[in-house]
């Protein structure tokens, strides 16, 4: 029997307006002050920021209203291409006796993994195709061919990274707790090895993404509960078992059937092919993702500046905090249209194939308000990222930028004490009232 809660009076439906949704994300609301956020004031006034937000809302709605068969057909075509290249890849790597087919197989398998992770997995898990109501492309249900379990990746990416984009101390994707990529990040000794560390991360990227999703650092800082952390660990272990079993045990075992015809090394060749295909995907996804937020001139923000931000400021932060990569149509498909990182951050839940069309509107607004639209070829953006890694890997002269200098420690202590004092003051007012 359903349990029914009774409430006597009928309540009015909230008015049809975005007013309540012009508020900042929950944790960005400053409970002590109503002072509006300062983001974007160097470019426009508060009225202009609101207008900017309304214009982008309108662009989003225009695309949503237009979604239909062509978008459904598109994602199904991509899925078909992904399945085909995966099957071709698996067949190809079963021909280690014929190198051209074997190598083509590795390439196809790598391509299949790239398509699955980028244009399909990443975008589907943003809920871009939820409107189709097809379980195959449902964001809540999709699991990708990647070491990171979808659930925890979605939390860290869709929620944390896409909501608190480029805010220091909130967006865990600034340097992934491993690299120093921005002047406002504290410097530690390990950052001397920024470039080699980034290279290693590139090769094992899917493992890095998985590890990032376990959130060990958050647990050690007491920001997530033990149960939450253990859940993350458990899901990661389960996904690792499945992925490792499939690519490095099950398929090579099937390859045992080749031993009489090819030789004892056939399963090893298949194992190696799987390793290489995974690395191809790792390198590609790493390159695309690092070019999205880490080139020079991409802005980062302090939590204080973003507090009480409006919807327009939220949009502006997304725009200033992202960078595009220019290229041809097939290139954009391979990046999952994350080459349109700016448009993706403005509208993470509209189908990615619409980003080129939306970019026209974004550029128009950028021009209108005198903003910067950060875009460039892959080589240019990569060079910029590499330069950033090299520059910010060096020890800064300012002691406040060094993480474990006495000055920084004192600053952090002061901040902690301030927070405790405020919390106690708040508790005091609650008790007296």
């Amino acid at each position: 029997m359903p349990i029914t809660l009774r409430r006597s009076k009928k309540a009015p439906i909230k008015p049809r307006s975005a007013s309540s949704h012009n508020a900042a994300p929950l944790t960005l609301i400053n409970p002590y002050s109503e002072k509006p956020a300062t983001i974007g004031l160097e470019h426009m006034t508060y009225e202009q920021l609101d207008e900017f937000g309304r214009e982008l809302d309108a662009v989003r709605q225009r695309v949503l209203d237009d979604l239909g068969q062509k978008d459904a057909d598109y994602i199904r075509r991509v899925i078909r291409a992904q399945r085909a290249s995966e099957v071709l890849g698996r067949i190809g790597i079963f021909m280690p006796f014929f190198p051209p087919a074997f190598i083509a197989g590795i390439v196809f398998l790598g391509l299949a993994k790239i398509l699955d992770n980028m244009e399909i997995g990443h975008n589907v898990m943003h809920g871009q195709y939820d409107w189709m109501n097809d379980p195959m492309v449902n964001g809540a249900r999709y699991e990708w061919d990647n070491m990171a379990p979808a659930q925890d990746w979605k939390h860290g990416h869709n929620y944390i990274h896409h909501t608190y984009t480029n805010i220091h101390g909130m967006d865990r994707d600034i340097g992934y707790n491993l690299l120093r990529i921005d002047d406002d990040q504290p410097w530690y000794g390990t950052h001397r090895f920024n470039l080699p560390l980034a290279f290693v991360l590139m090769i094992v990227f899917e493992w890095g993404v998985m590890y990032h999703g376990i959130e060990l650092d958050q647990y050690l800082q007491g920001k997530i509960s033990k149960a939450d952390f253990q859940g993350r660990k458990k899901r990661a272990m389960q996904k690792i078992r499945r992925q490792v079993f499939k690519d490095y045990i099950a398929w090579p075992l099937v390859g045992l059937a080749l031993v009489p015809f090819v030789g004892w090394w056939a399963p090893l060749a298949i194992l190696g092919a799987n390793v290489v295909a995974n690395i191809i995907r790792n390198i590609w996804t790493f390159l695309v993702i690092f070019c999205g937020h880490f080139p020079a001139e991409v802005q980062t923000f302090a939590e204080e500046d973003a507090q009480n931000e409006s919807r327009g400021q939220w949009y502006l932060r997304q725009l200033l905090g992202s960078a595009n990569i220019s290229g041809h149509a097939p290139f954009h498909v391979l990046t999952g249209n994350l080459s349109y990182q700016i448009e993706h951050h403005l509208f993470p839940d509209i189908p990615a194939r619409r980003y080129p069309e939306v970019a026209e509107d974004v550029k128009r607004l950028v021009e209108q308000y005198g903003l910067t639209y950060n875009t460039g070829r892959l080589s240019k953006q990569l060079a910029s990222v590499a330069r950033q890694l090299a520059v910010y890997g060096r020890k800064p002269s300012d002691p406040y930028k060094i993480g474990n200098s006495p000055e920084s420690k004192a600053l952090r202590r002061a901040k902690r004490e301030e927070a405790t004092r405020r919390a106690e003051a708040l508790r005091g007012t609650q008790l007296t009232s």
């Binding site: 029914t4 979604l67 459904a72």
Partner: protein, 364 residues
């Protein structure tokens, strides 16, 4: 085929295609080819009397068959979106052997997107997406010697499947079918019901509530006198009733009074009506998994769920991150930013930016 099917869904194969399923690959070869996903090809769309259509389909091998009286989730794709509705199977259960052809019958509701689509646009050859047959409203294995089937309006469809099955299997026990429709024009399956009156062990009584037939045995809505007239003692007659809530309530009250509640099996046929321009929050917000219900307060579904003591997942609370996305089983919702209303059954929504309009059922 059974061996191949179980091999394809076995653990070794699953682990080789993980995280996908074998169906994700098979359907690329042919949309009907699947180990687990039930699909069917429309064979024929028949216009019935009373603005209704019967869709005859042939399911793929994943279909496990049905019991007369069961329903099936029926999904059809229109302009890229899969629309899912629950329809009763109306055909007779095929005799042993595995015929996979069956039909559903649907009354075209004036505002019903899918029922209108079936009535006007669905063509043979279309592939539809199904669930396995579901529902407890089924005949027992051993049908007792006296049986009463009561239906109202389009509630006739599951009962029709029972009647057809009983008739085809040469059932010899007494079967009384008492059907209420507004008028003869409004009635589904009119000619077939006329024919069923000829079956010796069947007694088919139809009551037209608005335009009664001149020589009608019974008149008006269901009443205990109708049972008396038919000489039926509810206490020892297994009874099935399917139709609008009003009919079921009357029949149930009658059976309760006569102490025959145990004999009654019931199935609701609801036609939801929604006033999308309502200024006040109306209706009930039902959370399907936790079985909690609360009157709609007009706040977002996420806020109402939290107020009701649930702890749904959420992230940004501004419609960006999709963390709170859940299935809405039924009802209409309005987007707080755009004001857009969506009323589809079984669609995924972000509950942080949707307000219920009327009765809404959420999978939380």
């Amino acid at each position: 085929m059974g061996i191949i099917r179980s091999a394809l869904t076995s653990r070794p194969v699953r682990s080789l295609v993980s995280p996908n399923s074998i169906d994700d690959y098979l359907e690329q070869v042919h949309p009907m080819l699947a180990a687990e996903n039930v699909r069917a090809r429309v064979v024929e769309v028949r216009r019935e009397t009373g603005e209704a259509s019967t869709v005859v389909m042939r399911a793929n091998g994943a279909w496990k068959g049905f019991q007369p009286g069961q329903h099936v989730q029926f999904g059809v794709e229109v302009d890229g979106t899969r629309r899912i509705r629950v329809f009763s199977v109306s055909s007779a259960r095929p005799p042993k052997g595995r015929s996979r052809t069956f039909s559903v019958s649907v009354k075209a509701h004036p505002d019903g997107y899918v029922s209108q689509f079936l009535h006007k646009e669905l063509t043979p050859g279309t592939i539809v997406y199904l669930s396995q047959a579901e529902g407890e409203f089924v005949l027992p294995r051993e049908v007792p010697s006296s049986l009463l089937l009561v239906s109202g309006g389009s509630g006739v469809t599951p009962v029709m499947s029972m009647l057809r099955t009983l008739s085809a299997s040469g059932h010899t026990g007494d079967v009384t079918f008492l059907h209420y429709a507004r008028s003869r024009d409004d009635e589904m399956f009119t000619s077939e019901l006329d024919e069923l009156t000829e079956v010796p062990s069947f007694r088919v009584v139809r009551v037209y509530t608005r335009q009664p037939a001149p020589d009608a045995e019974l008149q008006g809505r269901f009443h205990v006198d109708h049972l008396k007239h038919l000489g039926i003692d509810p206490v020892d007659t297994l009874t099935y009733v399917c139709g609008p809530a009003g009919l079921i309530a009357t029949v149930r009250d009658t059976y309760d009074e006569l102490g025959a509640a145990e004999q009654l099996r019931q199935e609701y046929f609801k036609v939801p009506s929604v006033d999308v321009d309502a200024a006040d929050a109306t209706g009930t917000l039902a959370f399907d998994t936790t079985l909690v219900e609360a009157p709609n307060t007009g706040a977002t579904i996420l806020e109402q769920a939290e107020a009701a003591g649930l702890q749904p997942d959420f992230g940004c609370r501004m419609g960006v991150c999709n963390t709170c996305a859940v299935k809405k089983n039924s009802g209409a919702v309005r987007h707080v930013v755009t004001g857009e209303i969506s009323a589809d059954t079984d669609e995924t929504i972000k509950i942080c930016v949707q307000v219920p309009v009327g009765d809404v059922n959420i999978a939380l």
